[in-house]
């Protein structure tokens, strides 16, 4: 309702929208509208996307990710294993913090040590540091990290740990970071100001060791409402925005005053099946009576559901072309992608046949659950899937809820068939495999988000082997093999990889990123 009204408004008025800032005036400042709330500036307090997005500007990491989520040198110029369980990182020399002091291995160790100690954290970065058994500073520019077992993901893990200054952050609280007192990094921008719920201001670090950004001053404005974000761009109050609503896409694309950039994201949108041996909570027979057995335990029923879903139609119509249908967990450029593993072909007749074979010729009643406002067009996707299932005889209803209450129920196995999204933030397939498809196992820390409780010992074995396989080629094969097995089982049902979209005022371009980050230094003015 809100969006369509707004589109009508846009239709009438976008023509009249003139740009407040002309290309020649860009030189100094950049104002970016971001879609989610930054809850803190402390880079170790809370592993949350918008917080990390800001930290990316102020702090450096040992290993960086390029726009395609490939690892590139950051503070570490090189890294290698020196024995089965030890990684050695060589640090860049002459890197200066914003206060002028030099960044050394001491600061790196301090930062790693600080991760588990931050008080009152709702979500730490410990997943990426807890495997480290000991740290050894060989000299100020050489750091050795020892792990209990062979650990191939050390560089991936350290690409998430921001390096703070030991001098400035010793005994610093999260409040000290928010006020700027302890916010001393070595990144491209210096911290200026953080107004909770409103904005973050940064200024260029002229002593940055790498390419210096062109912007003197960057302001991130937090504008959560999609329509308001678009209006801010149209009115020239901001120069760029993230999270372009698909509803406004056509309009913005047609307007020569704006550029749209989009890129396939590392986020896969998928459905979980209830694998538990029970009468599944939201499935009943057509007459409304509970079914004794959970039909989703039958691979034929899962396959039928997969065949009944027209993924290209969802990508084209619901997502306005801003998605690619998927048959696996990570997209083509990411480590562990299985070349040739395609999305299931739309085949409603085949689906009906499989349902009949499985003993449900008339289908059954199903309530599909999904989050609202969490992923791009999440509610619409769930509704589209429900309609598609209805066509093969599965009478599907839809229930959606905000992510908070939704995930609280989904994680307690209260649903039968439900949508989730997963971003492979370490840039490779072990992230979704470990969390989504490995058997739920508290001792091993596996399957933490395996909300459907899929379990296949062969898949588990391959994942665990891969986790210890330092040789990249072998590890890749193991990840691919386990993905193939789990996908053949339909351990979960991938729908598509969503695109992230940015819109900029004409005269500015953005280098889009797989990891969805909106990084000020990747906005570039166009000459001329």
């Amino acid at each position: 309702m809100r969006i369509s009204l707004f589109r009508r408004g846009l239709g009438a008025l976008a023509v009249g929208a003139a740009l407040a800032v002309l290309p020649s005036a860009f030189a100094a400042d950049l104002r970016i509208a971001i879609a989610a709330d930054v809850t803190s500036i402390d880079p170790h307090f809370y592993n949350l996307f918008p917080n990390n997005n800001i930290a990316e500007h102020i702090f450096d990491k040992l290993v960086q990710m390029d726009p395609d989520s490939k690892m590139i040198p950051g503070i570490a110029t090189s890294w290698k294993t020196i024995d089965a369980t030890t990684w050695e990182f060589k640090l860049r020399k002459g890197v200066k913090f914003h206060d002028g002091s030099e960044l050394t291995a001491e600061d790196v160790v301090f930062s790693i040590d600080r991760v588990p100690l931050v008080a009152n954290s709702p979500g730490r970065f410990t997943a990426y540091t807890k495997a480290i058994v000991s740290k050894q500073i060989v000299d100020p520019y050489t750091l050795r990290l020892k792990y209990a077992a062979p650990y191939p993901l050390a560089p991936n893990d350290l690409s998430t740990i921001y390096i703070v200054s030991k001098k400035a952050a010793a005994n610093a609280t999260t409040d000290d970071f928010n006020s700027g007192k302890a916010t001393i990094g070595s990144g491209r921008f210096k911290f200026v100001k953080y107004v909770n719920g409103d904005r973050v201001e940064l200024a260029r670090n002229d002593n940055y060791w790498g390419d210096k950004p062109v912007w003197d001053k960057v302001t991130f404005r937090i504008i959560k409402s999609e329509a308001s974000r678009v209006a801010a761009l149209l009115s020239g109050d901001v120069d760029a925005m993230e999270g372009v609503p698909t509803a406004d896409l056509t309009r913005l694309k047609a307007d020569p005053k704006f550029n749209i950039t989009s890129k396939i994201s590392h986020r896969v949108i998928y459905f979980n099946f209830d694998f538990l041996d029970r009468s599944s909570p939201f499935i009943t027979a057509k007459d409304g009576k509970p079914l004794a057995k959970n039909p989703l335990q039958d691979i034929r029923v899962r396959r039928a559901i997969s065949k009944a879903i027209n993924r290209p139609a969802i990508a084209e119509r619901v997502m306005e072309g801003q998605a690619i249908p998927s048959g696996q967990l990570v997209s083509a450029t990411l480590f562990g992608n299985v070349p040739g593993l395609k999305a299931e072909v739309f085949d409603p007749e085949g689906a009906k046949k499989l349902l009949a074979e499985a003993g449900y010729p008339d289908g059954f009643n199903l309530t599909i659950h999904g989050p609202s406002g969490r992923y791009v067009n999440d509610e619409k996707i769930v509704q589209a899937v429900a309609q598609m299932l209805a066509r093969v005889g599965i009478a599907a209803k839809v229930e959606t809820a905000p992510m908070g209450p939704y995930s609280a129920r989904a994680s307690k196995q209260e649903f039968s068939f439900f949508m989730v999204g997963w971003g492979a933030s370490t840039g490779e397939a072990s992230s979704p495999l470990r969390s989504l498809l490995a058997t739920y196992n508290t001792d091993k820390g596996l399957g933490a988000v395996n909300w459907g409780r899929y379990s296949n010992p062969k898949v588990d074995y391959l994942i665990e082997q891969a986790m210890q396989q330092v040789d990249d080629e072998n590890r890749k094969i193991m990840l691919q093999r386990s993905t193939e097995l789990a996908m053949a089982d339909l351990g979960l049902l991938p729908i598509h990889f969503q695109f992230s979209m940015w819109a900029t005022a004409k005269g500015i371009t953005y280098v889009p990123r797989t990891d969805e980050y909106t990084l000020a230094f990747q906005f570039k003015p166009v000459k001329g």
Partner: protein
């Protein structure tokens, strides 16, 4: 008077206590926030650790008593996602919301009462009829839509005003950050304040008109006119003073509502006030902030009602605050 205030305060404490319990249990019932708070990559052990670190592993009554004992010392708990005091967060955001609500009330009063008087005095004139027609729009158009249209017209098309956000702030009395002291700040304030004022403006117009209409038929007005008093004195003193009581009540009650429900306007205009904080906190199930916010709002309502009661007696000498009944 003093007894009245003391009695009111005691009642208020009970209301606050009941309120806190209801909200606490309500938010608890929605579910454990850990699944939305924690990064999905975390494993089970980290989840357990985060749950413990936020105190969510304890039974409900234990969590509530921890909260209560903190509240007695003026500490309403720490926000899960901001790691700072929940009350501090709200107080930090409060000036922005107050500024918006006060501006909106001013707009509604300054425009609404004269327009309503005019409509009441000339109910069948062109002005009177158009004012009443306009007030229907103010009632019936949804706030978010009007907000977006204001943005489309004044920011996107005409470029007269900024589309969203709060302008630069300066400290009032060296304490409260306000934005209306600067030109840029005022420009940022105009659209959201107008948007928020519309409903109340319509309400005040109708209320004033009805009151005026009724008062004009009363004997004392006829008597005043018969005495030969100037029209301005009849309207300005005799009529206006007598219709002010319901108007003050409504302004008072609506002021509370403006603060509480500025949420929509704050979201549309990305205005960094308390309402936006509440929405964000609900999305995170950030219970300490939700509870603290609602307690602050209840407290404000109690305070406003008290002020309205006292204003009554100032406006109308017949109203005496009763010492015995309270």
């Amino acid at each position: 008077m003093l007894v009245f205030i003391i009695r009111r305060s005691m009642q208020s404490v009970v209301v606050l206590l009941v309120m806190s319990l209801l909200v606490f249990v309500g938010v608890y019932a929605i579910g454990n926030p850990i699944d939305i708070l924690i990064n999905p990559q975390a494993d089970q052990a980290e989840r357990a650790q985060a749950i413990a670190s936020l105190g969510l592993d304890k039974p409900l009554y234990a969590q509530y008593f921890t909260f209560l004992s903190g509240a007695l010392h003026g500490d309403l708990g720490k926000s899960f996602v901001h790691a700072t005091s929940a009350l501090g967060l709200i107080l930090e955001r409060m000036p922005a919301t107050m500024e918006l609500a006060i501006s909106a009330t001013l707009i509604a009063v300054v425009l609404g009462i004269p327009l309503g008087l005019l409509a009441g005095l000339r109910p069948n004139g062109v002005a009177g009829r158009s004012i009443m027609a306009g007030s229907i729009l103010g009632f019936s158009l949804p706030t978010f839509w009007v907000g977006l249209m204001l943005i489309m017209v004044f920011a996107v098309e005409l470029h007269w005003l900024p589309s969203n956000g709060r302008g630069p702030t300066t400290l009032l009395f060296g304490l409260i950050p306000v934005s209306f002291m600067s030109w840029d700040g005022l420009k940022h304030l105009v659209l959201p304040a107008t948007n928020l004022a519309l409903f109340n403006l319509a309400l005040l117009i109708r209320l004033t008109r009805a009151g005026t209409h009724e008062a004009l038929l009363q004997d004392y007005v006829k008597f005043a006119r018969a005495k030969g008093l100037a029209n301005s004195r009849v309207i300005g003193v005799h009529v206006l003073r007598n219709i002010l009581i319901p108007i003050v009540t409504v302004i008072g009650l609506q002021f509370g509502a403006l603060i509480g429900f500025a949420i929509v306007t704050e979201s549309v205009f990305a205005w960094p006030g308390m309402g936006k904080l509440l929405i964000d906190s609900i999305n995170f199930l950030d219970r300490p902030v939700i509870v603290a916010y609602l307690l602050v709002i209840v407290f404000l309502f109690i305070l406003i009602n008290l002020v309205v009661d006292i204003l009554y007696s100032a406006l109308d000498p017949r109203v005496r605050i009763s010492e015995s009944k309270g």
